[in-house]
Symmetry: C2
């Protein structure tokens, strides 16, 4: 805090729950506003979730995609960071209940993100972990690597289940995960075992809808499916997963023996957002007004995956990082306008820049307004875009070097079974 | 396995328990011997323990100092790797009991390393974790970083205990740890908090003996103590720690309020080594014959921290990486000579190359036979030596870049509270 200037009687207190893309963008946008900002998170780091699947598949270290929130905001004098879990929101009292005591607010930004949804089957979670946190990623890494280790020493009858990997959900995360697991088996692990050949591992990508990558143009989705199959991935569309257990998954009509199921299908708003007053969509996201405020609470905003935002023409804003960032900045601008007594910036307009997904080595699909890319060019574009959006020179250099090294050697350097 | 040449009726089976410095060196030395080698480890990776304290203090990622044992031995046709825990050794039956079934052996190398010793107070372990595994290192990192987070939000009366770090044991690990914690607080964290000043953190290094770094020449130890004090570390020698609890440590006559105690004092042989037949030293290490074999079992060898080796003149071989490597290679040579019916290589002669410890940024102490170094030159030598001994080009480049980056920016890039 700036100690040389007198502190006015009451500077408006802005509490931001969540230091993800939305929360961090809101905090930064308020840097010059006459408010005190508190960013509350149960983790001490901001996580670059789009690359989390690379941690899960041994290509990147957690530290390459995570930064202490405190460090990112160290130069912003009006911001402080509190490592604590929000346990409830009292809208009437204007107070967030946290594990580190109550945090009163004049303005609140709820940016708590999403959790997995198992479509009413929480008991599947144990057998089909999802990918939202670093702990999730290292747990999946442990499962995948351990499956090969166990297969090496298992009787022949058990090997098939150990070497079958089922990925549920054909969105970008599922596609990237399936490609990465297939490459891990085909390249990095290929020559390291004596009794099993990792190249015989079976990777199955299951999607309930018509096709994978539903948000992408059909031609790009078809390209992605072809490239996945070239990597040895079995792509099953129009197929629902109706059960997950310790020995495998019920995939459509048949039971697929598998000791490693990865969940990349359902997403639900975090419990805190789901418990907010007012209407919610089916995934539990809080339905917000066009300025992102909560109905009847013009000082409370919900952004990112926690919010259901109906854009123009009824299009739901997608649950991706650029959307969360834009929403966080917009909420901050509304707050600043209110504090300064200026005219409000009005409705939130989401600008969709494009969609990207990588399938593997030298293969990605990219759709930007002006152009589409596939293959090697798409892959380079995908890589550069992700490096650009990483925070900090150090991580950009580290990730670029790791990717170059992986590309040259086909190795994955984080093959650690930990925990 | 080489499938093109016929496998003889019985190739001698060599089982190596432990993929650390000693076990890995033994396995590699047997590459051309007419034996089958099985390396058994409960971890899937070989760990470069000398830099583990840098993982604990947020300077390096675990993956930079760990490599899959399987990958390191992938080109050695006569070696296989088994991820399993050895639960017992039946010397009479010639069999190692493991969590993945029995492993019969003709020759056995026990390279199980060391665990912490709390001098008969195992209840201290919970409050004063030690540093032997990656999990230990990330747990200490979590404790150290969490202490600052908690202090930021704690009432003034609790801050002192939260910002006091006690390191027990003035050997190289304790010295390096104390210096690294002090630098973390003074540099990397300095400007990131609002309510506390990490530079006021108290780091106390407690050593029961006459002086720190007992294995080093007195002048180097005195230099290290001066440099530690310049970093703000309080060095207490001739002071025993007689208690560790949740609120602090009993240090000599007084109780030091501290929420973070790190144990770098006692070392004990792993339980498996301690349970081997025959005599043991006070730390539970198996006393071995001069060729490193177990008394009465010329086909069983104990190397590294698991063994008590009396060198010429009764000097005990130190528990450091070069000693373990040399012993592992020697055991392998004895085995190969026995298998080939050659004359045995005789007694193990340990060659002590030198001692190194770093205190912090641009300060280290180095003693090699021919010379001694301190200060910047010692630090560069220390860094180059450690990079040289790392395995693989990728990790050498990554660690060199991380150190350069840390040196330039005074930052630590792995400030993650995980788990």
């Amino acid at each position: 805090m700036n100690q040389s200037s007198p502190i006015p009687d009451h500077r408006p207190q802005v509490v931001i729950i969540g230091g993800g893309f939305g929360g961090l963008a809101a905090a930064r946008e308020l840097a010059d506003a006459p408010v005190d900002v508190t960013v509350l998170d149960r983790r001490n780091y901001h996580l670059f979730q789009p690359l989390l699947y690379q941690v899960a598949t041994a290509a990147l270290s957690p530290s390459e995609i995570a930064w202490p929130i405190r460090h990112l905001l160290r130069r912003q004098a009006n911001a402080s960071v509190l490592l604590a879990e929000a346990t409830g929101i009292d809208l009437e009292a204007g107070c967030v209940r946290t594990t580190a005591g109550d945090q009163p607010f004049d303005y609140l930004v709820v940016a708590t993100g999403a959790a997995h949804s198992y479509f009413g089957h929480p008991e599947w979670a144990e057998h089909a972990p999802g990918l939202k946190s670093i702990e999730d990623a290292t747990a999946i890494r442990r499962r995948v690597l351990s499956a090969f280790e166990q297969a090496e020493n298992a009787p022949a009858g058990e090997r098939e289940g150990l070497l079958t990997f089922v990925i549920v959900g054909g969105g970008p995360t599922g596609v990237e995960m399936a490609g990465a697991v297939a490459e891990l088996a085909r390249d990095a692990l290929a020559r390291d075992f004596r009794n099993v050949d990792p190249r015989e591992a079976k990777v199955v990508l299951v999607e309930a809808g018509e096709r994978i990558l539903a948000a992408f143009p059909e031609s790009l989705a078809a390209y992605a499916a072809r490239m996945l199959e070239r990597l040895g991935v079995t792509v099953m569309t129009r197929t629902a997963v109706t059960g997950c257990g310790p020995d495998g998954a019920q995939v459509g009509e048949r039971h697929l023996a598998s000791r490693t199921i990865i969940w990349a299908a359902g997403v639900a708003a975090s419990p805190l957002a789901a418990e907010l007053a007012g209407p919610h969509d089916r995934a539990g996201r809080a339905v917000v007004a066009e300025d992102l405020s909560l109905q009847g609470h013009p000082n409370v905003f919900v952004v990112g995956d926690a919010a259901a935002v109906n854009g123009r023409g009824g299009v739901v804003v997608p649950g991706i990082a650029p959307a969360a960032k834009q929403a966080g900045r917009h909420a901050a601008r509304v707050i600043e306008a209110q504090v300064r007594g200026r005219a409000p910036p009005g409705a939130f307009h989401y600008r969709h820049a494009g969609d990207l997904a990588t399938i593997g080595r030298s293969a990605a699909v990219v759709r930007f307004d002006g152009f589409r890319l596939t293959g090697w060019l798409g892959w380079v574009f995908w890589g550069l875009a992700h490096i650009y959006f990483l925070i900090g020179l150090r991580n950009r250099v580290a990730v670029a070097l790791d990717w170059s090294w992986s590309w040259l050697t086909r190795q994955r350097h984080v093959r650690l079974i930990i925990g």
